[in-house]
Amino acid sequence: MNFSLPFFNFLITASLLLLTAGVILLLIMLFRDLKTKKLW
Amino acid sequence: MRQRLKKLLPILAMTCLVILHLNAAELPTPVFTNSLSIRTESGFYQLSWHFPPSVIPQDHWEFELQTSGDSTFAKYETLYQGPDFATFLSGLPNGHYYYRVRTIAEDTQTPGAWSATVTATVKHHSLAFALSLFGIGAIVFALTVGIVKQGNRRMVNTN
């Protein structure tokens, strides 16, 4: 029983998308913390 | 003069042959540094080789690594040809695999002698064993999540 090609494809694409979302989220959080002066 | 040349010709030819032969013989036989009989339950291993210490490796030498399903190499496949001293194999199904390596002069493509043969036996863990460990892992993981979740709920309630 093998992993299918679509699954393989999905796994990789989803990871890259999730990472991109992570970058954006991190930036949003940074600017929010900067604005409220709650960086540290 | 002609007679002399005729006499010399075979000698010349012989010398040429001897020189050629010497050249070929100069190609040293690589020696596997891994065990000659590999047993694995995970389907991956590294094959590596080197020259005996007396040999000074030359730039135009490379290696040819062959694999076969039987020890006679009646049917073989060239796995690798190049200058590296190792290769890594993985994802192999159950079975016996045989490997041998030799030196090749890159310019003339003359090969040296074959190394000793490596025999690799791949026999994966039994699926039942693997699945039972998987099951134990799943239970332990679920319990861990349970401990943390339940603990946190209790903490929220007491506050």
């Binding site: 029983m1 890259l16 990472l19 540290w40 | 995970s42 590596s48 192999l92 460990l133």
Partner: protein, 477 residues
């Protein structure tokens, strides 16, 4: 040994990159370090770290050289399940998230994970815990020092010893100057570099090769890698997950961050960090599977990631890989230096030998300990014994045995010191036996299983009755 293919970047480029990054980290470390006025500032960044920095530091620290080097290796050895198995280490962060909240609540003025074990279970358990924890921290440090040297060497031909020395000393310098402020501040930048770098490399590889071909070639050459029922991989899944949980639950690297984050931040930060980390092993790992299609000979599995990225993307790819790896190494080495030094200073130096020591002196001791740790790690890294990195896997069963003494100890009044003691001894012992008898991919699993049974059994039949208030030392003073 000439195991490796010729390097992808020339040494001059390598040195320039190394120089730029080193200067940047040190300058930032010194700049941020000025914020550290007292020991709370130096060790715990003022206990007021916000969500952005909190998330980034958890994420960046969890991305180590191992994530970027070992994930491709897992993919190459254990296939698709291997990548997924590596990803499950994110559960260490997910499950630590609620713990972080609990820790901050119970010990608002705590410093280290050792503090917790000592107050919760007493001295005998604490000694064993310190041995496990320091052994783990130190082997982790060594494995990264060596990885740094090997990578610099393989990517750009910088001699192993020089590269290793530079990366260890750069991290040491900025950690000394800036304490946890420097560590967390640089972690933010490093986590951005890591994520963007992995997306670029992964995306570019995806763009330049045909996934369909890759799939077919793997199916032909390494069929078991695509098999859903590859036994070693099936075992590796929960093993790796539990290894990850053990690493995070016990290690002071994570506890000090829990103490450092502002009230109400820890749980969120660790959860988001888990989601950011989850895709990294897959995005970095799948590249290893392209080796068959491109006909590239892999000599050694731990170099497959950087090698493939360099081969597919050329010089630009190699530069990105270099920067990403340097960042992931630095973000973990600095954290490890800071947290292990804290553990030694707070738990051993202060609590065992000099309880009356002044805060100012303590900070000086901290500096000596960081320098000493770095020097020791450097000494062990010098001979480049490749197999030493595998010592880190030894730590797997040891840290997995601490999971339940920690988790139950934080939530259950009846978890007892005998339970914790025997859980660590029996768990570690059995795990190490499994390591040699069955394979490394079962060691943490066996250890955690025994640890949960032992801790729970003692809690049930020889219960303790712990008073939670005892954990807050500031209250007693």
């Amino acid at each position: 040994m000439t195991h490796f293919q010729s390097e992808i970047l020339n040494p001059v480029t390598g040195w320039i990159l190394l120089l730029i990054l080193s200067i940047a980290w040190i300058a930032l470390g010194i700049y941020w370090g000025k914020k550290a006025k007292d020991m709370d500032g130096y060790m715990l960044a003022g206990r007021n770290v916000g969500l952005a920095f909190g998330t980034a530091t958890a994420m960046a620290t969890w991305v180590t050289s191992n994530t970027t080097m070992l994930a491709p290796q897992f993919a190459l050895q254990l296939g698709i399940w291997g990548m997924v198995a590596y990803s499950t280490a994110a559960f260490g962060l997910f499950l630590f998230a609620p713990l972080a909240k609990r820790i901050k609540r119970l010990m608002p003025k705590g410093f280290t994970s050792g503090d917790f074990i000592r107050l919760r279970y007493g001295k005998k358990v604490w000694y064993i815990f310190l041995i496990i924890s320091i052994f783990y921290g130190f082997t982790w440090l060594i494995s990264m020092g060596m990885a740094g040297g090997i990578l610099m060497n393989a990517l750009s031909g910088i001699p192993y010893r020089l590269g290793m020395t530079v990366i260890l000393s750069v991290c040491m310098i900025y950690t000394i100057f800036g304490g946890l402020y420097a560590v967390i501040g640089t972690d933010f930048i490093q986590s951005m570099i890591i994520m963007i770098g992995v997306v670029i490399v992964g995306g570019a590889v995806l763009y330049s090769i045909d996934l369909d071909t890759v799939y077919q070639d793997v199916l032909k050459d390494k069929p078991m890698l695509l098999n859903m029922l590859l036994p070693a991989s099936i075992m590796a899944i929960f093993n790796n997950l539990l290894f990850g949980i053990g690493e995070v639950f016990h290690s002071n690297v994570w506890w000090s961050r829990a103490f450092a984050m502002r009230e109400g931040i820890g749980k969120k930060a660790y959860t988001i960090a888990g989601f950011m980390w989850l895709p990294v092993p897959i995005a970095a790992g799948f590249i290893a599977l392209t080796s068959s299609s491109l006909g590239i000979n892999i000599t050694s599995p731990d170099m497959v990631g950087p090698l493939m990225a360099g081969n597919i993307l050329g010089k630009v790819g190699a530069i990105i890989v270099f920067v990403v790896l340097f960042s992931s190494l630095a973000s973990s080495i600095d954290s490890l230096l800071a947290a292990t030094a804290d553990l030694i200073v707070e738990d051993i130096f202060k609590k065992i030998f000099f309880p009356a020591i002044q805060e100012k002196q303590l900070r000086n001791v901290s500096v000596y300990v960081i320098v000493g740790l770095t020097f020791l790690a450097w000494l062990v890294c010098m001979p480049r014994i490749g197999t030493l990195a595998t010592v880190l896997f030894f730590a797997g069963p040891m840290v997995a045995s601490t999971i339940y003494p920690i988790a139950m100890g934080l939530y259950w009044k009846n978890a007892s010191k005998e339970g914790a003691f025997w859980a660590m001894i029996i768990g570690s012992g059995a795990g190490l036996i499994a390591y040699f008898q069955i394979g490394w991919y079962t060691a943490s699993l066996i250890s955690a299983t025994l640890s949960i049974i032992v801790t729970a059994t003692f809690a049930r039949w020889k219960p303790a009755e712990f008073n939670w208030l005892k954990l807050d030392e500031s209250r007693q003073a």
